[in-house]
Subunit: 580 residues, 2 copies
């Protein structure tokens, strides 16, 4: 009420309106570093526990990207020490190619600089913001620079300390020294205040555990602030083939992107421009396009206007192209996901699905990997940790493990396309009565040359229509494959329960009848059991008749539904083509 009164009395004052000219005096421009320094929430740097996990995330994804890029089997060492109350030091060391004296400043001390933003290739980082944002956070909470050692393993090792000038978005490097010691890789040591280490579902340890699940070729060693060491061992000794950048796929390219590409193209004619700049564009496709457009394909691509580009994009949509090249995408692989989940959640039933690569708006290829694990240790224990208590039946809740380009997503699940897709499935149809309270682990890895994150903090994938549709289809297909097991298991349980009840009843009745008639109990019991078994069989048959479907038929039915939804999707995309 106080606020209200105050407003009322002040409203009485009459002042002259302020003019546009007066307001103009207050106009300022700001650097992107100032922006994210103020809006550190947008980088996921908020909440004491979350911030520490986000920091580990930024450094580890960079290390994994760098080793992958350099074709090196990754070996990561993460060490955390407590320096004071909510005050920690973090060291992250990798065996990657390292950074040069020229690039280290940009990589760790300048926002929106890096190698990943402009390339069409799957990588964990994609913005050139994360690590520099962490440097900013370190300096605004401790006033101290970030220490870096970088080496190529051939004697060229150097160390330096680094901060950011937020007004200019530029790195400030001090104490640059050459070091005699041999070292290959990058080691970063930084201090942070207002953060907290906890062993929790959203803490650094769980983050690293999930990183290991999705990156079985990586060796990850973690020493926590209590000195406890955890090693996530490499379970695969092959270096995954490095994904190679691809050109945009014609399906999904927008008019604006086409014009931008044309503007910077070296090609002299529209025809050669199309062939040079797009994936899956052969002579036949170019010829088809030339028949669909109203202008000369020999035109200079730098001179095509909006309407002409619109004609080309329209033609793209009318032509059947081969699916996008998968060179830029590196799925984890069905076998590896299976091995990982079997060793970790030991499920009773497990199905793993890798969908074919798709393209969404912008010509970006993407692909979805899904696993559904049921029973065993699948699901999240509701008592907080995963320890089983003797004698108490464990209550499990559904657990969604989200990954984007093999990096775990631990936060902002509520705003993520993966969560939305999971919640959009009618789980009852797959034998899961109460999805929230089911022993179910749902594993989803979304890979793309560009992940449409909702925020620079990279924790939730935007629910773009094409993305949610693909996720849904993958989930439906994976769920379908284990539905008959889940349904079967539930039926089995119900049948056993019923049998147990009947048998108990039969024994008691036999005793009573025996006393009444004087006939031997065993004989009566045998007869009664026969009746019970017959009865059970009839009930089962009737039940099947009522449901009118066998388990196999359930599976077939669900398969049909997946196909139906796929057809719907196809139709929609064709309709889109006509419209476009």
């Amino acid at each position: 009420m106080a606020g209200e009164k105050e407003v009322k009395t002040e409203e009485k004052k009459v002042e002259r309106p302020i003019t546009a000219e007066e307001l103009a005096k207050d106009f300022r421009e700001h650097s992107v570093a100032e922006f994210f320094k103020k809006n550190r929430q947008m980088l996921g740097l908020y909440g004491k526990i979350r911030t520490l996990t986000t920091i580990v995330h930024e450094y580890c994804t960079n290390s994994l990207d760098a080793t992958e890029e350099a074709k090196i089997l990754p070996d990561l060492e993460i060490k955390m020490s407590e320096l004071g109350t909510e005050y920690y030091e973090l060291t992250v060391k990798d065996n990657g190619p390292g950074l040069t004296k020229e690039t280290v400043g940009k990589a760790l001390g300048m926002l929106l600089a890096g190698t990943k933003f402009h390339r069409m290739v799957q990588s964990r980082g994609q913005q050139g913001i994360g690590a520099a944002g962490v440097t900013l956070f370190s300096q605004i909470t401790t006033g101290k620079p970030v220490k870096v050692i970088s080496g190529t393993g051939k004697g060229k090792t150097f160390s330096l300390e680094l901060t950011i000038d937020p007004k200019k978005n530029e790195p400030k490097i001090i104490n640059l020294k050459d070091i005699e010691k041999q070292f290959q890789g990058l080691a970063i040591q930084a201090k942070f205040k207002d953060v907290l280490y906890r062993v929790s579902e959203q803490g650094p340890l769980e983050y690293l555990r999930r990183t290991a699940i999705a990156n079985p070729h990586a060796q990850i060693t973690f020493v926590d602030p209590f000195g406890e060491k955890t090693v996530f061992k490499r379970s695969l000794n092959d270096i995954p083939e490095k994904p190679t950048p691809v050109k945009p796929h014609p399906r999904g390219v927008t008019v604006d992107e086409l014009i931008t590409l044309a503007k910077y193209s070296d090609s002299r004619k529209v025809g050669s421009f199309l062939k040079n700049e797009f994936d899956r564009m052969g002579d036949k496709a170019v010829e088809e396009i030339s028949r669909k457009i109203t202008f000369d394909m020999n035109k200079d691509p730098r001179k095509i206007g909006w309407e002409e580009a619109e004609e080309i994009v329209k033609a793209f949509k009318e032509i059947q192209f081969i699916a996008p090249r998968v060179d830029a995408l590196r799925p984890i692989g069905e076998h590896r996901i299976k091995t990982s989940l079997e060793s970790i959640v030991k499920p009773e039933f497990l199905s793993v699905i890798t969908r074919k690569p798709q393209v969404y708006s912008g010509g970006f290829p993407f692909q979805v990997e899904v696993a559904v694990a049921f029973g065993g240790e699948a699901g999240r224990s509701t008592n907080g940790n995963n320890e089983k208590k003797e004698g108490i039946e464990e209550l499990k809740r559904m657990e969604i493990m989200r990954f984007a380009n093999r990096a775990p997503l631990l936060f902002d699940g509520g705003a993520c396309a993966i969560t939305k897709a999971v919640n959009s499935i009618e789980w009852k149809r797959y034998g899961v009565q109460d999805i929230d309270n089911a022993p179910l682990t749902i594993f989803v890895n979304f890979i793309s040359v560009y992940v449409p994150y909702t925020s620079a903090g990279k924790q939730a994938i935007a629910d773009e229509e094409e993305v949610v549709e693909e996720l849904r289809l993958a989930l439906m297909d994976a769920a379908r494959r284990i539905a008959r097991h889940i349904v079967g298991k539930r039926k089995e349980k119900e049948k056993l329960e019923k049998k147990r009840m009947y048998l108990k009843y039969a024994t008691e009745v036999a005793l009573a009848v025996s006393e009444m008639t004087g006939k031997p109990k065993a004989e009566i019991e045998k007869k009664l059991l026969n009746i019970v078994m017959k009865r059970l069989k009839i009930e089962e048959e009737e039940e099947n008749k009522v449901n009118d479907v066998s388990d196999e038929e359930i599976e077939k039915q669900l398969e049909k539904e997946v196909k139906k939804e796929e057809k719907k999707k196809e139709k929609k995309s064709k309709k889109g083509k006509k419209k476009g």
Copy 2:
């Protein structure tokens, strides 16, 4: 499986590792415009319906901020026309101060430029990104510039067309013309493709309806693509007093911010610097600080280092300051919220709470307004629209109306501090058995000179501890005030049900007894009714005895809980002071 096989065969190749020097060649720097052009999801510009609502949001918040700043009663006209499939034109006209020829380019054609980012004052926009992001979206989907007319009402009217150069993050202005016509305000006309108009919970109409609820001093006219006109009439003719910028409050200021302020200060001594740059800093406080720090207060503020700044911040936390000045904050006001909700949701019970202003990390003052409405038309109809169907009892779901600085938040609820606070309340204690399925509208307005959004799209508030705590306390307090009504209503309903049953039973029994005994039915029924009424009374008394609390006692109990939580919060903040 296909992906997996492919990876395996390719893994056999052995190539030499790539070096840091080779990677360095791929390093690039990017403009913030390029960044948001690619990551338009981060601006909320994704999803066909959502994008259109976000566009309306960006323009309307700018108009409301501008009129408030210029002390003008806002009059907004929004018109939408369909130009083709998923292709619309939007015109937004306000009666604000307009923009100058110099500022219009920056306001609509340059990201991270504007008047709001650096000022400590409550405003709907705060980043200098939104409207320029919309210009980007218009140009990448249609290739067309945004048209602008701006006038001061004194003959100085001009029109121009504008696009953005993403590489440079700079506006490109064409067709700048002076116009003879008198006009005061800003009119923007822009075209968009890949968007869709729908009358839905997340559509532009609902957005404007909620804007009207939280801004009763604004007149908003909307013409939808079907030509239908909706006028949200001004219900309040006073111009709300313009909030004035405040200095940061010493409680919550970080060391880094103190150093930044000191660096740009005109003061020659630390003492005068503190008095000049902070809210609520009097001579007495400065003297107290001087006794707590180890260096001379006459020192040049530009020369204080991290350790010295840390001493000052520590001292800030040990001193009792007056609560932050509220000049920068403009709550809607309890009376206005009440009037708005009563006219719209016509609830049976309503409580409105305005909490006192608080400060969170960074010295930013903030304040929470909460209303809880129960019954009547409160809640969301589960049949999709709000129409009542004859004869069918309506099923209602809880509805949360979220606002930040009076601007409605329609998206990303799952990631928002407001939703988290609502879900953290034990609603059963307030008489609400199933919160998800209750006829409940929860209205929350979070106001601050800086709203910690999770993304540049400004749809969810980060769940910073201080923010969630305040929201919780406000919700508990508001819920407490109507809990006895809700509990009472439920009890009443149960009592009526019981009475109805007993009475029915009494009539039947009376008939049977009358037939058996031959005595008159009416007499027996009267006796039976007496017994029933006595029985009901006894039961009620017993129930009260079992619960051991009357309705008033419930309320008292709940009030105690709010106070307890408040004390806990106080203790924590004191503990924080000691630690710091």
